[in-house]
């Protein structure tokens, strides 16, 4: 088992090294063989491990194997080990499984890109970093993995480095993630100072004093909020859509952004020690879910709609974890990985078919041309909207149920508010998803009808709305005639179909207690009991109310979207005068405010420092020192006349002085 789990880690790393060093000289087939092979074998090994794990009893499922003794100093020792327990196994399967599908899809999406080898090298590197993050058994190696996935994300967002906006987005993501890394690092310092250990086993068994536990958990949550794009550190994720679409699907929807959810679940014994931290987690999750969903309502770039939707769904996961239902958070993580990867890959297929177009206003009517993409996208949209019996329904229902259970158990009115937020967000989710769906697939194609005047208007608009990235996706957006639109190749549609199937059946790994099958809950019983033991139980009647309301909200959202956009997406110009619309459309002016409050002053400070501190003080200092020597040597060098006679006289003079000195001394 040790060797197997090690290879899950090593194979993607090998793939990265081989592709990184030699990929440039390899033919396309070799690149794909190595890229797919590394990830595929890792998935196979993870699956074998998983089957092995299922055959053991629940008590023996946690397997912590030391691979390398790194540091041993006195009583302190630090090992690099692989922790394979049901939680990391679930993550491992999602990461390598969804990762493999996206590797396959990328071969089609990136087929024409000269940087194909670089792309697969980075993808393999990401899989390596994420596996390291998941199977690390100490906080230190968690931090290493945590940092490396951030690096992978940076590299892949900035993959098209010729584009300014992509580079800027990559930097933004990196900087904000560093804030999170700092939080994680401080949390680890605090944990070590208080408990003297870094491995999960010892730390999670340790009881911290109340204040310390809260501080540690809040610092950990800073890290989670940055990685999982929660308020107030979410801003990088929408910008991260500058990266290639498979990257958005893999890193910025299915796997990396869920690292925060994983971390909270992993450190749940710590969070159980601090009710304050849990309340913060639940609150931030709920507010983020609603906030991001509201922004997603009005976005025009299809990838950005999905990005805000991801933020919103991550908020749901944190909501579940905040009410002790960690298993529920992980459940939603898994189903979300399926349907959000599906939606992103579907969006990628649409963008690919339209030659790089991402603006919903230039789509429409694609149902007739992109049938496979359309059907799978519809399944994804239904799944995320929480329509029974698709995956999203079960996990979202589980979350809302546990929030309501917490509300009734604690009697705290804020949990009721949180539950209502959850229901409302479910409705909003359905609405924006079907606005997106109808915008892309319903009505008639708007890509070729755009007249020159409209185009100019859009360009002007795009200038003052920095929200719209017109040239995103590929290097150049080409307008493609409707008849020229073709369904994507098989290499891209196959992953879509597989993910669509998973989005349909993925929910059945959850609990079916609601439907008279109280014994059926494979995921919950697979995961360690600590991940759901503290969650309150909901009476069946209330559970039905919660389920019914969330379903109703979803149906209502879809209905409204049908009412407004069913006949095709019309960009409502009269809405533009509405201040509320403007506020939401500009994403609550958060980027503008940040620019004004943080970026501009820091840039001004930097410019001032360059000019005055560096120019006058530092450069002046070094110039001054050189001037001192220059000046003094100008005087001294006159002694060096170059005439031998003068030197001889000097020697004579010196000898005379010495002789006189000794003569006088006697």
């Amino acid at each position: 088992m040790t060797n197997l789990s090690l290879w899950v880690l090593v194979l993607p790393l090998l793939g990265f090294i081989i592709l990184g060093l030699m990929g440039r000289f390899m033919p396309r087939t070799a690149i794909l063989t190595i890229g797919w092979g590394a990830c595929g074998l890792a998935f196979l090994l993870a699956a074998v491990n998983f089957i092995n794990m299922l055959s053991t009893s629940a008590a023996q499922r946690s397997n912590d194997s030391v691979i390398y003794h790194w540091i041993s100093a006195g009583t302190f020792s630090l090992d690099f080990g692989a922790l394979l327990d049901p939680l990391s196994m679930t993550m491992l399967l999602v990461v390598t499984g969804v990762g493999l599908l996206i590797h396959i899809y990328s071969a089609g999406y990136m087929a024409d890109d000269p940087g194909l080898w670089r792309f697969f090298a980075y993808l393999n590197f990401f899989i390596f970093a994420m596996v390291l993050l998941v199977i690390a058994d100490t906080f230190l190696f968690l931090l290493v993995g945590w940092g490396l996935v951030g690096l992978a994300s940076y590299l892949l967002i900035g993959f098209w480095y010729q584009r300014r906006s992509a580079v800027a987005a990559a930097q933004k993501a990196f900087v904000i993630n560093i804030i999170g890394d700092l939080g994680l690092m401080l949390a680890i310092f605090l944990i070590f100072a208080q408990s003297g250990h870094l491995d999960y086993g010892s730390v999670l068994a340790h009881t911290f004093s109340g204040g310390t536990a809260t501080a540690i958990c809040l610092l950990l949550f800073v890290a989670c909020a940055a990685k999982s794009a929660q308020l107030p550190l979410y801003m990088w994720l929408p910008d991260a859509m500058e990266g290639p679409t498979p990257v958005s699907a893999l890193i910025h929807a299915a796997t990396m952004v869920t690292a925060g959810v994983y971390l909270v679940a992993r450190t749940s014994p710590l969070f159980e020690q601090s009710s304050v931290a849990l309340a913060v987690v639940a609150g931030i999750g709920g507010v983020t879910a609603l906030y991001a969903a509201s922004i997603a309502l009005v976005q025009l770039d299809i990838k950005r709609v999905l990005a805000y939707s991801t933020i919103s769904q991550l908020g749901y996961m944190f909501m579940a974890e905040g009410v002790h239902n960690y298993a529920g958070g992980i459940f939603h993580l898994v189903t979300h990985a399926f349907f959000k990867a599906l939606l992103f890959l579907g969006a990628g297929a649409i963008i690919h078919a339209l030659g790089g177009e991402q603006d919903m206003r230039k789509m429409g009517g694609l149902w007739g041309r992109l049938r496979i993409t359309g059907v799978t996208f519809l399944i994804g949209a239904l799944a995320i909207s929480g329509i029974i019996p698709l995956a999203g329904f079960w996990s979202k229902d589980e979350i809302l149920g546990s929030v309501l259970a917490q509300a009734t158990a604690s009697g705290n009115v804020w949990y009721y508010v949180l539950w209502i937020i959850g229901i409302v967000t479910a409705g909003l989710t359905a609405f924006y998803m079907f606005r997106l769906f109808f915008g892309i697939f319903a009505g008639s194609y708007r890509g070729e009808t755009a007249t020159a005047a409209e185009h100019n208007a859009e360009v002007n608009e795009a200038k003052d709305e920095n929200t719209l990235v017109t040239a995103a996706g590929h290097q150049h957006t080409v307008h493609i005639r409707y008849s020229a639109i073709h369904e994507v190749p098989r290499v891209m549609s196959t992953p879509l179909i597989i993910l669509a199937v998973l989005s349909v059946v993925g929910g059945f790994i959850g609990s079916l207690a609601l439907f008279g099958l109280p014994g059926w809950s494979p995921l919950t019983s697979f995961l360690p009991s600590g991940l759901h033991a503290h969650a309150a139980d909901l009476p069946l009647g209330l559970a039905w109310i919660s389920t019914g309301l969330s379903l109703l909200a979803g149906v209502l959202g879809i209905g409204l979207a049908w009412r407004f956009y069913g006949k095709g997406f019309g960009y409502k110009t009269q809405m533009q005068g509405n201040p509320l619309y403007q506020l939401v459309f500009h994403k609550y002016y958060v980027d503008e405010a940040l620019n004004a409050v943080l970026v501009t002053p820091i840039l001004a400070l930097g410019r001032g420092l360059t000019r005055y501190l560096e120019g006058d003080v530092l450069d002046g200092g070094s110039r001054g020192i050189s001037m001192v020597f220059h000046g003094s040597s100008a005087v001294i060098r006159r002694v060096q006349t170059g005439y031998m006679r003068n030197y001889a006289l000097g020697i004579l003079f010196g000898v005379v002085v010495i002789v006189v000195y000794y003569a006088m001394r006697g």
């Binding site: 001294i636 060098r637 006159r638 002694v639 060096q640 006349t641 170059g642 005439y643 031998m644 006679r645 001889a648 006289l649 004579l652």
Partner: protein
């Protein structure tokens, strides 16, 4: 003759050598002046050796003679090569290393 007479002669020769080094411009003459200084020292060595009844001074004289011969060889070689490049061996013209 007393020791003082030898030492006075030695000092006079040495002073002539010093002045020669300082005022002459022809390096060959300067070499000769250096030889004068060295031999002035040799003279005082021999005289002192005789009056102190010790052979140490005479041994030093041989050492000095050897070193002087070697020094002249190097010096003449330098002068020849300077003359070949500059066609002039006036020491006052050799001030390339002026600061």
């Amino acid at each position: 003759m007393p020791l003082t007479a030898y030492l006075i002669v030695s000092a006079v020769i040495f002073t002539i050598g010093v002045i020669g080094v300082l005022i002459r411009r022809n390096p060959l003459i300067i070499f000769m002046s250096i030889e004068l200084m060295l031999n002035a020292v040799n003279l005082s060595f021999v005289a002192l050796s005789h009056f102190l009844d010790s052979v140490d001074g005479q041994m030093f004289v041989f050492l000095v003679l050897t070193v002087a011969a070697a020094e002249v060889v190097v010096g003449l070689a330098l002068i020849v090569s300077i003359f070949r490049t500059r066609h002039n061996i006036d020491v006052d013209e050799m001030n390339v290393l002026r600061g």
